[in-house]
């Protein structure tokens, strides 16, 4: 199915997609070899899973920002919904499913479902708005999700699940376990996320997004992005397509959140704040809106960069900020832009 569709695409588009898959696979193999030959430092090996999670987040956000053309400033909210739903379900399944990879996969699916539901509920009000107003409402929802999770308590005992808000009034029976502890989040997580799992999730996310983008719906997304009024006038149901992209993006973000959370022993809601949303947005903008490979590379580089800058210790975030500003100034400078375009082997003829 995928292959047939790819062959039908314009060749340049298809080449770009193949290139993306190829780069991801090669990078994965290289990383696996390097980490098994002890070439990687332990800090580097510890970063492999978070990098995968951020890459998936970048792909997910790029669907909304790059393809649909709407700015979302609260994407970390979906990540946190996924993280909490995924970790909770993994803990509940601990006794039932002993195989860790299967448990991880199921947890990620559950996380994706929860995040998709959140995306749908949030999408109903959000997608009625436009432009900067839409952006600020997504920011608001991100903050609301964070506040709610910070005050949410969930426990399990022999009588089933109990939850409460604001303070712990779950009154668990003896032998029960309080899973989500409000601002303390979840602790004692089994670290079942692995680098191969991250790689597979990234490949699935890419396949979903590429298939979606190169389908009838995907063309509708781009038509809406380029000219909403024209798209509406030819009978496209704007709300339906926007909702489709938004929910899909939220689901992918949820799975990434589960992957991310199960790489650590504790997870707290404050980890997924406005700054995390912005971090992911930076990946998308630097990598190029609508350019999945670009945002994947940006995610990897910008996650490794602060670590590599550690030798500058206290200056590292300062350097990061400067790099960010200089990159934005450089990529928007007409002369540098045309120079970069001349290096691109896949440029279209009309641009040459």
């Amino acid at each position: 199915m995928t292959m047939k569709r790819l062959i039908n695409l314009k060749r340049a588009e298809a080449r770009k997609i193949y290139l993306t898959y190829a780069v991801v696979i090669v990078a994965y193999v290289v990383c696996q070899i390097m980490s098994s030959t002890k070439f990687f430092s332990s800090s580097m090996r510890g970063m492999l899973v978070p990098i995968c999670a951020y890459m998936v987040m970048a792909v997910s956000l790029n669907l909304v920002v790059g393809i649909l053309g709407e700015l979302s400033l609260g994407h970390a909210g979906f990540m946190s919904v996924g993280a909490f739903a995924g970790v909770t379900s993994a803990i509940l399944m601990q006794g039932v499913i002993t195989n860790a990879p299967v448990r991880l996969a199921l947890a990620m699916i559950i996380a994706a479902v929860f995040a998709a539901v959140a995306g749908f509920l949030i999408g109903i009000p959000v997608l009625r708005l436009k432009g900067d107003y839409l952006a600020i409402v997504t920011l608001a929802f991100g903050e609301i999700i964070k506040s709610i999770l910070n005050n949410f308590y969930l426990g399990v005992d022999s009588q089933g699940l109990h939850f409460s808000m604001l303070s712990d009034t779950t009154r668990l029976l003896k032998g029960g376990r309080l899973i989500i502890r409000g601002p303390m989040g979840i602790s004692g997580i089994q670290k079942i996320s692995t680098f191969p799992a991250g790689f597979i999730l990234l490949m699935i996310a890419l396949m979903i997004v590429f298939n979606l983008v190169n389908s009838r719906s995907g063309r509708a997304f781009m038509a809406i992005r380029d000219d909403r009024i024209a798209a509406e006038s030819i009978g496209l149901d704007i709300t339906k397509y926007k909702m489709m992209a938004f929910v899909m993006s939220a689901a992918i973000a949820g799975a990434a959140g589960a992957l991310f959370a199960m790489n650590y022993s504790t997870v707290v809601a404050n980890k997924f704040d406005f700054n995390t949303s912005i971090l992911i947005l930076v990946f998308v903008v630097l990598g190029g809106q609508g350019n999945m490979l670009g945002s994947i590379i940006a995610a990897a580089v910008l996650t490794i960069l602060p670590e590599k800058l550690r030798e500058f210790s206290e200056y590292r975030m300062l350097l990061y900020a400067i790099v960010l500003i200089v990159m934005m100034l450089a990529t928007n400078n007409a002369e540098i832009r045309s120079f970069l375009a001349s290096l691109n082997p896949f440029r279209r003829k009309e641009e040459a």
Partner: protein, 293 residues
């Protein structure tokens, strides 16, 4: 009486939000950009004022004046270096640059002044007026904050509606091309807007730290986001809207803290914003722009 107490502290907090929101709304109105570094200018203003008063023993009002001067210069420099080259760039690129600038200011502050919270000396001491036989106590800072906000609003409204520069600002926000054809220096006008917004941020910084006396490199970010919300709430681009939005946001926040839950107050604030935007998609006082096909 307790209700009135909460209401007054809400208005006071709202006044600070309103002053910050003015900076957001003016810059948005004229340059159509979300200046995320604005919250950090507040923090810089707070630190400058802190050092002027507690290290060099200056008069607090002189300290605020110095902070205003520094922040105004900072605003102009930031605009010149980071935003001006991106005038023609897509709005997302400008947004990311503004965020980079915000990180830059925060981390510079971290290096210069360390992350240890500083206890800010109040601009006018910690006294309070007692009303109704001491049932209602209103601190001097609260009164000063509200008064400052009112004065700024009046002066700024007069400035925008009466002076030549104010007219130039309105013209630029309406149509930059046409404004340029009429002989208005668009670049200078935009720089001016940044300068005014940053100067106001310094005042907001001093007032914010007088009311909540801990000063850290991240002090500005949350009030910055809240004030930005206030600007959207009132209708971004509209000066009276920023005033109204700021005050309402402050009151809602304090009431939510008092009557609902202090932990969920932020969620309540943002939920109200969402409801308002659904009913009035351009904010309370924003103009709904008719789309022409």
């Amino acid at each position: 009486m307790i209700f009135l107490n909460y209401f007054i502290s809400g208005i006071s907090l709202g006044s600070i939000y309103a002053i910050i929101a003015l900076g957001y709304t003016m810059v948005y109105g004229i340059a159509k950009m979300l200046n995320f570094a604005h919250g950090d200018v507040i923090m810089v203003g707070g630190y400058v004022c802190f050092y002027a008063v507690s290290r060099y023993g200056l008069n607090p009002f002189l300290g605020v004046a110095i902070a205003m001067l520094v922040c105004t210069l900072l605003g102009i420099i930031v605009e010149r270096l980071a935003y001006k080259p991106l005038r023609q760039a897509p709005s997302l690129a400008v947004l990311i640059t503004a965020i980079g600038m915000s990180y830059f200011l925060q981390n510079t502050a971290l290096l210069l002044w360390s992350s240890n919270p500083k206890v800010f000396p109040s601009v006018i001491g910690r006294g309070a007026f007692k009303l109704f036989d001491g049932k209602l106590s209103v601190s001097h800072v609260t009164v000063l904050t509200i008064a400052t906000c009112l004065v700024i609003m009046v002066i700024l409204s007069l400035f925008i509606s009466k002076t030549r520069l104010g007219k130039a600002m309105r013209a630029c926000s309406e149509d930059k091309g046409a404004a340029q054809l009429m002989g208005i220096n668009v670049n200078a006008t935009i720089s001016m807007t940044f300068a005014i917004g940053s100067g106001l941020a310094a005042i907001a910084g001093a007032l914010l730290c007088s009311a909540y006396p801990t000063l850290m490199p991240t002090t500005g970010s949350l009030p910055g986001i809240k004030a930005f919300t206030a600007a959207v709430f009132g209708g971004i681009g509209s000066v009276p809207g920023a005033f109204l939005g700021g005050l309402m946001l402050g009151v809602i926040e304090i009431f939510a803290k008092a009557y609902i839950s202090s932990q969920l107050s932020d969620a309540v604030v943002f939920a109200v914003l969402i409801v308002v935007l659904l009913v009035k998609p351009a904010g309370l006082l924003g103009r709904a722009i008719q789309e022409k096909v």
